[in-house]
Each structure stands twice: as structure tokens, then as C-alpha cells.
Symmetry: C2
Subunit: 654 residues, 2 copies
């Protein structure tokens, strides 16, 4: 591609973004540029940045106050039905969440609890009556609610929750109970202090018949915030981060709830006291209900990525100005970013930030399509769930690692709270666990890939998975992404060119990613098929021995999906100069990912030793090539400059 003069993007007065940075920002924002730019234009640092030294009690009040203020201004409430005050599509609600996460993650998760989880349960599992009754107050933040799913005994195993919701025909109510200590709802946001209501997940029992997990709205605190009789509330207190989120416990002892308070979109008890559902199978109903909650998982990955973008923006800007040691011969001090080791810490992660950013955009649009289809395309729904699980695990892992790398790249200064990095690191930590523990998420992905989407996801009996796997061998196992037409074009064009085997050939990247995914899944399927044939006692051990393999397959799949999204994102950029930069960033993403997995590629003789070393050299060279563009690249990550609340970036710092 010919490199032309820089694109001329108008820089609004008072802003300090380079033209290239502005162009990259538009490209990476993609379909959400207007929404995201509105945040940068209208939301001040004061609106969303927390003083990192605030103690827990103050941080909790701060988070609620800021949330209410933002909601009043129409931020953080996209995705609700317009009839009840929502503004924007469900895809835009993901974009809003990503922007909020560039401010403070406690505020972000407070919003996630209130608007995303509690509000999302009302919207997706409730009906018009629930919407009318609860949504206006939920949106404004006045009607504070909890999403009471997780129990102490069952963190990741939602299908086996112990809480009971028992229909009482005599009074026409439900009784909500926590039958054992392990049934205690735990880690519930808004439970410790602020929540007035809770969407409680439990086993519905009608006339002695179990109908599986349902959700009921329970009043937990009075208007003056005293616990309601029968509800025992606990404060889980100080955490390793997210001090502004009041996580707590809930226990129920014969708490009575009116019949109308069951969120009965997919099943409930009629006025006549009879259970009725549009979905006869208990399992299918469970997965349908959980499926509507996929937005939370998508948002968590996006928010973690925002934290990583911010950390990279701070560390890269610091590395451009901070010098250390003298250049031999010249006597000038060397900026940190001129060192290969510093480039290696930051630039491949910036490339990943772009890759994951384009993939997040695609995922949000996919969520929109599934939402719009309203259940008409179950396969698309399951594919979305798989992708959301994989992206959540990969992005939160990367965000954990990258915020730490950024801290270390800033040395001792990075450890001072005034430089924002340690708060980011601490807050993003638990993103690896909540909304689906990462190891569990990757296993979901692997199982879905194995079953070629023939079965519902989430079901944890691996033996059944293994047995079913036998059916899919031989089919093409690569789930196609929305970018497929672009990918096919790249592959077709490359096959006519002699450079198809060059390290910077996009077609070669695609083939490498596809090969790793296909081979990892196929070999896993063979192992699982053998394991599934064993007697039940032996099959756990055999399947358990495949667990690392499952994680590898899920990562290989998600890497390929991300690469395709990056390629499609470049294809959509209409400015050739920007496209040329993005293409180099994509080279770095692709080659750094291949380098990380070079053990696998060498083991499977897809590359030899000489080529492996050449890949490492190429990554080094791309870092060096992109180093002069580092400022524009981090500008492109889209974190408004005034939100980079790091003292080390101020000119008055030594």
C-alpha cells in the first residue's frame, strides 16, 4: 500500500491530539465514534475520576453520587427501552460502558450493577409490568437494586443454586429461602449498603415440582435503608480494589413476595396458581434466561480493555519524555522508549489494544443483531455467548497483565497512587473472576467449539460433551465471523502473489491463526471422544487431563476471531495513510501472537527454528518502526487526555 501524506483531521480548539492520533481514534471508535466522542467532549475528569486515596466508605458514596449525576445527564443508561427513558441501542450501551471505564472502574462496576445487571434482569427477564414499575427509578439510580445470583457454595455453578422460591397457593405469594449456609448470596454489588431491591436467583418450586432457576424481585431494604424482616444483609467489606462497590451477602428466611414480582418473561405462575412457560425444558429455559445476560460479560471485557488502554497511554507518554542513562558518544540522555526492552513492554500491547478494540466493536454489533432478532436465531445467540465468553477471558487476562507491565514500565513513579496505575491494576484484578471466572469461560468456549453449537452452552457435564463430540469430527470447525468476506478476499488475493509466505503477508497470518485453531480443536475432539467412551469413573480423569488442551483451543479460537476483526477494521478505514499505520500495527499484533505461541507452531512443524527466530526479529523491527508513531498510537486508543490523571505526565514533574 502506498503511503501518502497524513490525513488532515480537524483538531477541535483546546484539544491536543495530533492529526494522526485523531484519525486513528476515529478508526478505532468505528461505528461508535459519535457516542465515544460525546464522552470525551462532555464528560470531565471530575465527573468520573476518583481520588485514589479515598477510603472505602467515602469511595462507596462517591460512586453512587457520580452514578446518579451521570444518569441524570443521559450517560450510562443506553440500552434501556426508550419508553422508560433509555437513550441508545444495546450496542451503544457497551460503548458507553467502555468509556465510563476510562474514568474509574468502581464507578463503572457500580453502573454495571445498577443499570447493567439489575436493570438488565428487569429488561430481559421481566415483562411490561416490571418495566413500568421498576425501570424509571432504576435508570435514575433512585431505585437501587442487586443482582443476587452467585452463592457462597456455588460460584461458577449457577444451575445448582440452593436458594428456593416456593409458590404458596394459600396466600398467592412466593416464599424465598436460603436453606443452607452455602446458599448465602455472596459478592453481590449494592448489597452491603445501597441496595433497596434485589433480583434473586433461586430454584422455583410450585406444588412440589421443581421448575429450575428463576428470578424474583425481593425488597431487601426500606426507604431509610434498614433491612427488611427476614432478610439478613452482610457487608463483605474491604477488597483488593473496587473500593467504591459495596459488595455484600444476602440471606432469606421465609421472605414473602407477591406473585407479580417473579420476572416471568420465560416462565412463571399464573393468577390461577399454575406454572406456565413458553419453554418446556428446564435446561433450555435456564440457558435462555442466562443468554439474555450476555451483555454483562461483553461489557466486562470491554471495560478491562479500557483500563489497559489508559495504563498504556500513561506509560507510553511517560516513556517518551523520561530519560535514563547517557547515549554513548552524544552525552544526551536516552528516552525510555528508545530502549528495546521498553518498546517490547509497550508496543505489542498497544497492538493488542487495537486488535481487541476492533473485536469489541464487532462483538457489540453482534449483540445488537442477536437482540434485534429477539430469539429468532438461536444459533447466532449461542455463537454470541461463545464469543463473549472467549473475549471476556482473553481481554481481562490481558488487562491484568498489561496494567502491571505499564506500572513496571514507569518504575517507582508507577507505584505512587497519584500516577493512577496501581488503582487501575487493583480495580481490574477481579475482572478475571466476576461475570464468569476465566478458566470456566475458556472451557465454555472449548465445549461450544467441540459441539459445533449443537447443544446449549454452560452445561458442565464434560462427559456428555465428550460423547457428543464424536458427532462433529470431520466437519469444518471454524466458526465464521462477520469479517469473512474480507478474509476470503485477502486469502484469494494472496494466493496470486509471490509474497504469500512473507512474514508480513496478511494471508500467511490468517493461515497460521486458522491452522492453530483448527488443529487444536481437532486434536482435542479426538481426545475427548476417546475419553467419552470410557466408563464413568475413568472418564472424569481422562477428560480432566484435557483441561489445559481445552483452554488452549479456546485461546486459539479467540485469537483468530480477533485477528479477523482487526483486518475488517483496517478494511473499513477509508484513509490510506491511516490504513497503512493500522496495517503495521496489525502485523505486530499477528506476529507477536505467533511469537507467543511459537512453541506450539514449532511442535507442530508449522514453522522451523530459522523462521521462528525470524519472527522474533520481525517483532523487534516492528517495535522500532512504530516507535516514532507511539504518541499517535496511544492517542488513537481514545482516552481523553484530561482523564489521564497521572502526576508523572505533568510538566512540573522531574
Amino acid at each position: 500500500m502506498t503511503v501518502t501524506a497524513p490525513v488532515q483531521c480537524p483538531v477541535p480548539p483546546g484539544r491536543r491530539v495530533t492529526a494522526t492520533g485523531e484519525g486513528l481514534r476515529r478508526a478505532l471508535d468505528g461505528p461508535f465514534h459519535t457516542t465515544k466522542q460525546r464522552w470525551r467532549d462532555e464528560v470531565s475528569a471530575d465527573d468520573i475520576l476518583r481520588d485514589p486515596t479515598l477510603g472505602m466508605a467515602d469511595a462507596r458514596e462517591w460512586a453512587l453520587d457520580k452514578l446518579v449525576a451521570l444518569a441524570a445527564r443521559g450517560f450510562a443508561i443506553a440500552g434501556f427501552p426508550a419508553a422508560w427513558g433509555g437513550r441508545g441501542t444495546v450496542a451503544e450501551s457497551v460503548a458507553h460502558f467502555e468509556m465510563l471505564a476510562m474514568g474509574d472502574l468502581s464507578l463503572t462496576i457500580k453502573s454495571g450493577v445498577q443499570h447493567g445487571l439489575w436493570g438488565g434482569a428487569l429488561v430481559n427477564l421481566g415483562t411490561a409490568w416490571h418495566h413500568a414499575r421498576f425501570l424509571p427509578g432504576t435508570i435514575s439510580g433512585e431505585l437501587t437494586g442487586c443482582f443476587a445470583m452467585t452463592e457462597l457454595g456455588h460460584g461458577s455453578d449457577v444451575q445448582h443454586l440452593e436458594t428456593t422460591i416456593t409458590w404458596l397457593p394459600d396466600t398467592g405469594e412466593y416464599a424465598v429461602d436460603s436453606p443452607t449456609p452455602s446458599a448465602t448470596k455472596a459478592y453481590i454489588g449494592n448489597a452491603a449498603v445501597h441496595g433497596r431491591w434485589a433480583a434473586v436467583f433461586g430454584q422455583l418450586i410450585v406444588g412440589g415440582v421443581h421448575h429450575g432457576v428463576h428470578v424474583v424481585i425481593v425488597r431487601i431494604r426500606t426507604d431509610d435503608l434498614r433491612p427488611v424482616a427476614g432478610v439478613t444483609l452482610g457487608d463483605q467489606g474491604h477488597k483488593g480494589g473496587l473500593l467504591g462497590v459495596d459488595n455484600g451477602t444476602l440471606r432469606f428466611d421465609d421472605v414473602r413476595v407477591p406473585r407479580t414480582h417473579l420476572l416471568d418473561r420465560f416462565g412463571g405462575v399464573t393468577a390461577e396458581g399454575v406454572y406456565a412457560s413458553s419453554i418446556p425444558s428446564v435446561d433450555a429455559r435456564f440457558f435462555t434466561m442466562l443468554g439474555t445476560l450476555v451483555r454483562g460479560r461483553i461489557c466486562v471485557g470491554g471495560a478491562a480493555a479500557s483500563a489497559a488502554r489508559k495504563a498504556l497511554s500513561i506509560a507510553t507518554r511517560y516513556s517518551l519524555t523520561r530519560t535514563q542513562f547517557l547515549m554513548p558518544g552524544s552525552g544526551a540522555e536516552i528516552p525510555l522508549l528508545d530502549y528495546q526492552a521498553q518498546q517490547r513492554k509497550l508496543l505489542p500491547n498497544i497492538a493488542k489494544a487495537y486488535a481487541y478494540g476492533f473485536a469489541m466493536n464487532e462483538l457489540a454489533l453482534q449483540l445488537q443483531r442477536v437482540t434485534d432478532a429477539a430469539g429468532a436465531d438461536p444459533q447466532a445467540g449461542r455463537q454470541l455467548e461463545t464469543r463473549a465468553a472467549g473475549m471476556k477471558a482473553m481481554l481481562t487476562r490481558w488487562a491484568n497483565d498489561t496494567t502491571q507491565v505499564a506500572r513496571e514500565a514507569c518504575g517507582g513513579a508507577g507505584y505512587l497512587s497519584e500516577n493512577a496505575l496501581t488503582l487501575l491494576r487493583q480495580d481490574v484484578d477481579v475482572f478475571a473472576t466476576f461475570e464468569g471466572e476465566n478458566t470456566v469461560m475458556l472451557q465454555l468456549v472449548a465445549k461450544a467449539l467441540l459441539l459445533n453449537y449443537q447443544r446449549s452452552w454452560g452445561e458442565m457435564d464434560l462427559r456428555g460433551t465428550a460423547q457428543a463430540t464424536a458427532r462433529m469430527l470431520g466437519n469444518d470447525i471454524l466458526e465464521r465471523t462477520a469479517a469473512r468476506s474480507v478474509i476470503d478476499r485477502v486469502l484469494a488475493a494472496a494466493s496470486r502473489k509471490p509474497e504469500a509466505q512473507q512474514l508480513t503477508s496478511r494471508a500467511w497470518h490468517i493461515q497460521m491463526f486458522e491452522h492453530r485453531e483448527r488443529h487444536t480443536i481437532e486434536s482435542l475432539a479426538k481426545r475427548m471422544r476417546s475419553a467419552g467412551k470410557l466408563p464413568v469413573e475413568a472418564s472424569f480423569a481422562a477428560i480432566n487431563a484435557c483441561q489445559q488442551h481445552m483452554l488452549a483451543a479456546a485461546r486459539a479460537h479467540t485469537d483468530r476471531v480477533v485477528l479477523e476483526a482487526f483486518i475488517a477494521g483496517i478494511d473499513a478505514a477509508d484513509d490510506p495513510y491511516l490504513a497503512s499505520i493500522l496495517s503495521k500495527v496489525c502485523d505486530l499484533y499477528a506476529l507477536a501472537t505467533i511469537e507467543e505461541n511459537r512453541g506450539w507452531f514449532l511442535e507442530h512443524e508449522r514453522i522451523d527454528g530459522a523462521r521462528s527466530k525470524a519472527i522474533t526479529e520481525s517483532v523487534d523491527c516492528l517495535c522500532l518502526e512504530l516507535r516514532p508513531k507511539a504518541l499517535a498510537l496511544v492517542e488513537g486508543l481514545g482516552v481523553e487526555e484530561s482523564w489521564l490523571n497521572a502526576a508523572l505526565l505533568r510538566a512540573d514533574q522531574g
Copy 2:
């Protein structure tokens, strides 16, 4: 080796350690068992555990109070001359530090600042007069001091500090000055609140002649803790961890200090006003002075490893009792540690904890030998410095990663402050930076290896290194460790056996580690030699391009040193049952390390794809084999049970 019945170790009444755990603990404590057991027997949780919710101001006071109390009881003050109240050898002082770090890292670093750095500067750089004047109060904690080396502008580049210490012949004093903003001393422990004195590093100027970096004792606060005139003190406030350590800044404006206050063991101004030193070269004097401070670097690595041991103890015990999901066929819930993914998170890290533990013991003994030699063996001193730098970087990196893995292995519970893991993680973070930034440390190691110890370490002109490298090619480059005779025995025995190429052959492990080290250094040396021949302008770029290679060489070297220490540690265990367990743990350490580096081994055709996959399978199998020993293995890590201040380990927790 034949496995016999478990060794019978008497379990003291009231203790709850298994016999095997007790035996492993003795083996890993090694020569420091008495010292370490004294901590476990005599130091209570209340003595050393901080409430993780304490705010900064309270945490700072808590740390000083606990430090003074421990010092009064004879803990944390080994390594001082017995004449002034010290109790124990310098090697034991490292063991004390490791034990203290199983409690609270703020308290540990507070001790490190007061006794290790400030006290160590007095002991090692001062003379009898300084000892008599300052040591008693330093040991008791009454005479609080700072180690004022790092400057804002020069974090890692100590040789180019800007602070000046100017001899004033007219008054017979020194004037201490901070000539620029970047000369501000920064990140200095005890500076923000508690310090009364400071050991200030600066350039000594006598009669206009620069004599390089020296250290002078400066009064910074009065007895009632007001700053002394001419001294400007700053509080660096809230940090990402170590809230109990009061880091701050120091600036000096013509602060006058009596002649006697220069720590003049290696050079100073005589009563006649003439500079005199036993070491004529400015550079050699600088490195001699820095060399005496090596203990701090050793202690930091050991303390980080203690934090990792504690995190592994908590997460492993939790994984033994916490269940999740049902076993197919049986209906019983599955303990987390039965899952392959959980075993993979914890067991290879437990194996590393043993490996690093044996290597730390050896390093402490090496420090003892160098200290005892009192400069008579400069090569041993340089070797110690190299090893300390490599161990510091490797152990602090591992501790950062492992505390995070442990947190995630405990899921949401791991994120609650009451479960201790997030505090460990936050506190250990900066260990990767202080006492020598890890990337800089690994480069020091690589340069020392390249130069085959012909030149002083620490000098940052890489071009000189590259030129000198030409001289060493062709020599054997493996620095031998104290374990060499054991290693030679293993290699000799193996060469007579057919199983020498089996994956669990110790000789094969040694050969793999040695091959990686030798090849990485030799190829680096060749590249550096070429780079050194270039003109000065080009050589920076060429040498900079080798930076990742340098880091790889340093890691390969340190891995080999650690493996040898592990093998020697097993050799010293006299009980065959314990030795058989340790041998399996060593297999896991060796194979997991080879697996981590399998990309390299494959690239260099040292293994093929089939063998690489077999190594991964072996690691899986060893995890499964060691899983029934998991409790004993973490007991062996030596963290007293009452110090495991994690609520999730209490029986009353769901």
C-alpha cells in the same frame, strides 16, 4: 530411589503440621532451620500481621511500633556487629528477613530501610566511630534513618547522581546540596514521617576535584520530628501498596555536616583537609561501596519469595477443601485441586518455591563467605553481585505472578481483603522495581556473564562491554556454583546409565539448562562483538537490538544456578523418603522450566516436537502425582499456620 516409610518428625504439641510437612520444612530451611523455627515458635500473628484495611497514617505508625517491639526481642537485627547488640551472622539476617516477610511486607520493608539499608550503610561504609555513635540507636529503632540514594532524575543510574557533598576547608565541614530539581532524593523510606537521619549519597568534591559518589550522614529532623533548616522533606503519600512505609523526598540547600559524618571506610577527607582513599580509581571505589550493599538486593528477592510462599499456602489449602461442580456418576462435589487447570496454577509454582528456597539458602551462605573474606576475594564478590541481581529479578517477577495466580485460584474470595492475598499482591508489586529495577538487573547479569567477571559490574556503557566481549569468546562461560561437586557426580553417574535421556533424568535436566545458558550467552557474545566494532553512532542501535537477548541470557543463567541449588539441597536431605518427594518436586521444577522455554529448545533443535509434547504431558503427570502431597508440600514452605490470616481457611467459612 526406594521410597520408605514417612520420616517420624515429632510434632510439637499445639502444632498441626504433618510429619512429612515438618520434614520438608526442615529440609527447605536447611542451615537456617533453627533461626526460622524460632520465628515460628516465638512470633505471634499479632506481632507481624497488619489489618489489611488500615489506612496509610495508621499503617505507618503500626509498622514503626511493631518494628521497635520486634527489635527489642532480638528479631530483625541479625547482621549487626555483636559488640553493638547485633545477634547472628549476616546470612542469618537474610533468614530473619525472609521470615518477617511471611508476616507483613510493610513491616518487612520498614525493617529493611531501618536495619538493612540505613544500618547496613553505617556498618559497611562507616568506621568504628560511626558504629559507636549510631548503631545502638539504629538497632533499637530509636534513631530512625533514611537511605537516601535514589534521585528523581536518576532512578537506576546511581553513578550519575547529582547531589553534591562539597568539602569546605574554612569550616572543616561538608555542604550538602541538591543543585537541580532532578537531584531530589525520591522514594526514600522513613523520609516522609519517621526519619531523623539520612545516609545521603552524593558526589564528593574536595578542592574542586570530584572523587565520585560518597555517603554522608545528615540530620534531617529534630527530636520532635521537625525538619532541620536547609532540608526540605516531602511525603510521597499513598502508594499501590506498602502503605506502612513512609516514602518521601529530600532536598538539601547548603546543609552543613561535620567532617566526621562522612562514611569514610573507603575514602574521605582527613583532619588535615586532604582526600584519602585506599582505592585510587573513582570507578573501583564506587563499585566497592555499592558491592557492600548487596545484602539488600538478596533480602528483597527472599522476601518476595516469602510472600509467594504464603500466597501458595493459602490458595492450596483452600483448593483442598473448596469444591465446585459434581463428579459425574458419584454426585460428590469435586475439590478445586482435583482439576488439572488448578493443579497447573499451583503445583509448578510450589516446585519453583522449593527451587528458589534452596537457591536463596545458598545465596545467603555465599554472602556470608564474601563478608567473611572482607574483600580478599574480589571475584567471589562480583560473582555474588551477579547472582544477587539475577535472583532478585527472577524471584520478584515470580512472586508478582504467583501472588496473582493464587488470588485468581481462590476466585471472588481471593479478592476480599480478609483473605490476605490482595494485600500480598499489592505489597510485593514494587519489589520488581526497588533495590534494582528488574530489567536493569538482568542486564547487569548478562554483562557480567559476557565479561567473564573481568570488569566491574554496574557500569552502564554497553559499548565498552561489547568491545571487551571479544576477549572472552572460546572460554567456558558457565560460572560454577557451590553445588558443582554434586552436579558433577550426577552427570558422571548418569553417563553410565541407559535412562540418561529420560525426561526425569536429572542429568538430562542439567544438560538442558546448561545448554540453554551456554548457547544463549555465546550467541549474545557474538552479536555484541559485532556491535562493538561499529562506529559509536551505530553501536547504540546494534547493542540496543540485543537487549531482549541479554535478558534471555540472564534468565537462562539464573535458572541453571537455581537448578543446581535444588539438586544440592536434595543431596543434603538425609531422609530417603523426603529426598524422594523433593526429587519429584525437582522434576516438576526442571520440566516446567523447560516447558516454559520450549520455544527456545525447539528453535535450537535441542528437542523435537514429539519430545516437546512429552514434556508437557510429564508436567501434567507430575502435577497429578504430587497432588496427594499438596498439603505437606505447602507445609514444607514453612509459613507458620497461625500467620495464614485468611478468613477462607477458617472452618466456619462456607
